[in-house]
Symmetry: C2
Subunit: 461 residues, 2 copies
């Protein structure tokens, strides 16, 4: 063997040996870092107290409300206390809809006194005419059924339940959601005068769930409300008994001029690539009737906690790590759009953006997406690091409503996947309260998010 060949072989030997050694060192360092992040989250986290404060002081943080404005200031102050390098309030003009006086829905049947049905107006619903709307009711299982039903001059009652067979309740929500989101607009096309929708939940109780409905240009904007599942079942039974019964709806909502608001930003400057940005965030707004503990107060305090955790374990970020608390996720996504537009205008480079908006439950994994469509596969190399903490799912996805648009800017996007069983028991309701959040589950979610942010910052994707 020629001496040079032997030299090269020896060098290759070193290299081929060095790679596994280096990888093993990396793995050991990463395992240590994840353990430190989890320990800091489980022993010293203020996240749960932050959530208690946010939901107690600023419940009902709907776009345009005084409580959203209060929450914006609170979030900035909380980020400053967390010791970030910079905070910013990014201007966003948000829609401003108010429910007004409590809505009233009741049915009028022969030989019965008028009986109330527990209901809330859908977000964005038009008001009923002065004195209320009274009409007979057609129960339909789907938007498709509008084609064959005679709904002209009537109130359409969409009553298809979420499918309990799905293990993921999010999937069941997605499948049933068209009734609420597009039901009123579609029913209006066929001449309906109002819409009632079965609340989007798998729970059978008397708690009504609101949520956005989308009107279509050129189509009549008819008033719409959600019934609790108990009320929906009751109305359905009464309709079987007396198909000609009438329902009376009173909704007192009102649209106002767009209102000024802000995305709240706090960041840790990167020491190697300050111009390259990693985002972690949730949305600060909530429905007007809801304290928004799980949706998405949890995501906000977890995102703030990620910045605290990285500092607590002494990680000095290579890239700039930015916590973004978006406004107006619930009824317009203007916060997300403003952030994305500003990023484009400033020519910012976004490496990665992680969103959490599925509740503060025990984390099970992440959904990931990038332009090449293989982010989930790339991240899956870290799966063994997460398994001791109970995270197993690395699935393809598009992050979430707020970070999704950054995909078009070339960023890899991700979303935390927590347990889904309890989320829709509380979603968009008055009972999405702090007592529904388990402190440790909230902390485990923050730790998992911090771990993924650390790995991306340290190793890239």
């Amino acid at each position: 063997m020629h001496l040079l060949t032997r030299f090269i072989a020896a060098a290759l030997g070193v290299i081929s040996c060095a790679f596994p050694l280096r990888a093993a060192e990396d793995t050991a360092a990463d395992e240590k870092m994840l353990r430190a992040l989890y320990t800091a989250a489980l022993t010293t986290s203020p996240a749960f107290e932050h959530l208690r404060e946010l939901t107690a002081k600023f419940p009902g943080r709907l776009s345009g409300s005084a409580n959203l404005a209060g929450a914006v200031q609170w979030a900035r102050t909380t980020l400053e206390k967390t010791g970030v390098d910079r905070t910013e309030l990014q201007p966003v003009l948000v829609p401003h809809w108010e429910r007004g006086a409590a809505e009233n829905v009741r049915f009028l049947a022969k030989n019965l006194s008028p009986a109330p049905l527990t209901a809330v107006a859908l977000g964005g619903s038009e008001p009923t005419p002065a004195g209320g709307l009274r009409a007979s009711v057609v129960e339909l299982p789907s938007l498709d059924a509008l084609k064959t039903g005679d709904v002209k001059g009537k109130i359409v009652f969409f009553n298809r339940p979420m499918n309990p067979e799905h293990i993921s309740t999010g999937r069941a929500y997605g499948e049933a959601g068209d009734q609420r989101n597009l039901g009123p607009a579609e029913a209006a096309k066929f001449g309906a005068v109002g819409v009632l929708v079965r609340s989007l939940t798998l729970a059978l109780d008397d708690v009504p769930h609101t949520g956005n409905t989308t009107y279509l240009p050129g189509i009549a904007r008819i008033p719409a409300a959600a019934l609790s599942t108990v009320a929906a079942d009751q109305l359905s039974r009464e309709l079987q008994r007396e198909p000609t019964l009438q329902v009376e709806m009173q909704i007192h909502s009102r649209w106002f001029e767009d209102a000024p608001s802000h995305n709240v930003i706090g960041e840790l400057k990167g020491r190697e690539h300050p111009e390259q940005i990693i985002v972690v965030g949730g949305h600060l707004d909530s429905w007007d009737i809801s304290p928004g503990a799980h949706d998405d107060g949890a995501g906000c305090v977890q995102s703030i906690e990620v910045l605290r955790l990285l500092q607590a374990v002494g990680h000095r970020p290579r890239h700039t790590i930015r916590c973004v608390l978006f406004v107006n996720e619930e009824n317009g996504s203007r916060g997300s759009a403003a952030y994305s537009t500003a990023a484009k205008e400033k020519n910012e480079t976004h490496l990665f953006a992680l969103e959490t908006d599925n509740g503060g439950f025990q984390p099970r994994g992440f959904n990931l997406g990038n332009p090449a469509g293989n982010a989930d596969t790339l991240a899956a190399r870290w799966k063994p690091l997460f398994e001791p903490y109970g995270l197993y799912h690395f699935q393809k996805g598009t992050g979430g409503a707020d970070v999704g648009p950054l995909l078009a800017h070339g960023a890899t996007v991700a979303g935390l996947t927590p347990d889904s069983q309890r989320y829709f028991d509380y979603h968009h309701t008055a009972i999405d309260t702090i007592d529904k959040v388990n402190k440790r589950e909230l902390e485990l979610g923050a730790a998992a998010m911090a771990a993924l942010i650390y790995l991306v910052d340290q190793h890239g994707l």
Copy 2:
């Protein structure tokens, strides 16, 4: 090639081909069966209503109580309604301890009026002397610290918190549990006159957690109570301020004669091997102060539900499948011992026994044990079948307190592993109520149990 050789080769070819084909068919059939079991559990289960009934009618089902007797009859009736082939009440003589009037614990410090500490007597605690027990207090972090502390004539206050760093709260419970279980007996060896123990929970609240304490033969039986974690922190602070403060304890408990009770059994007869038994079960008793929704009402209604599910999907069991609801798990394990003894006397063959006693939370996997020590590995071949339902853990274990003894009879034993984060928030308290149980999580647990029982019945382990 000789004709015979060719024939053998062809036969082998068929065989080597047939095995994978057969396995693929098995897998497809198993997938279909699991899906059917989950669908039946998520759409038609009475388990949650059973749990509501059990906890509403028979809370505080401690051994010797009228409510345990009521629960025994309720369980038999519920099993009969489920359509089993045979029910049985298996006699068990159980210990009978009663708490009596509510306990009183308060501290007496200079310049302060006597202040109450939220407390409950430990299960089995001796009463305090008439008029109460008054003594100064020594706070200790462990049983070991008794060796160096001066505790003679004093009340020992064990105040080591459960370790929040562990991801499994069960592990944290196991590590801190010696204070409650053996603390009073060990402290008595060193001359202590009473014991206070920090409640075994990771929650910081004013809810005290009871649980069994074990006295030792020949050692003084001193009274013992658990403080809520808030009260424990308060007492600790006051002791730092005033190390000589005294605590007054009043416990009015009483032991009675052993009482007659019963394990409740219901079974589906096996069509191929009726003499070979597969057990699924939980324990019917609960602490006196607790409705016992998660501990272990959940396990009972899930075990009953397993028998319903197998019938609902049309599975005709090859082996006899027996639901056993054990009594006296909390303070004596006499139900488990009686079952095991009877099995030995009747020379019964127990193939497999699955227990669930860790709460009705979302299932994550199973622990498994057999005499060869490889049950977890054998069962792991079914892991891919469970992953779509969110179960990933197949770990070595010994089932649980009630089925563990069957290991010595050659049975494979298993325990359901649900999420552990919330369990110790409620464990052994007055707040272990139906509203802490999520209907779907309870049903998912029952479906996972039914799936494992089906697989063992169909394929063996």
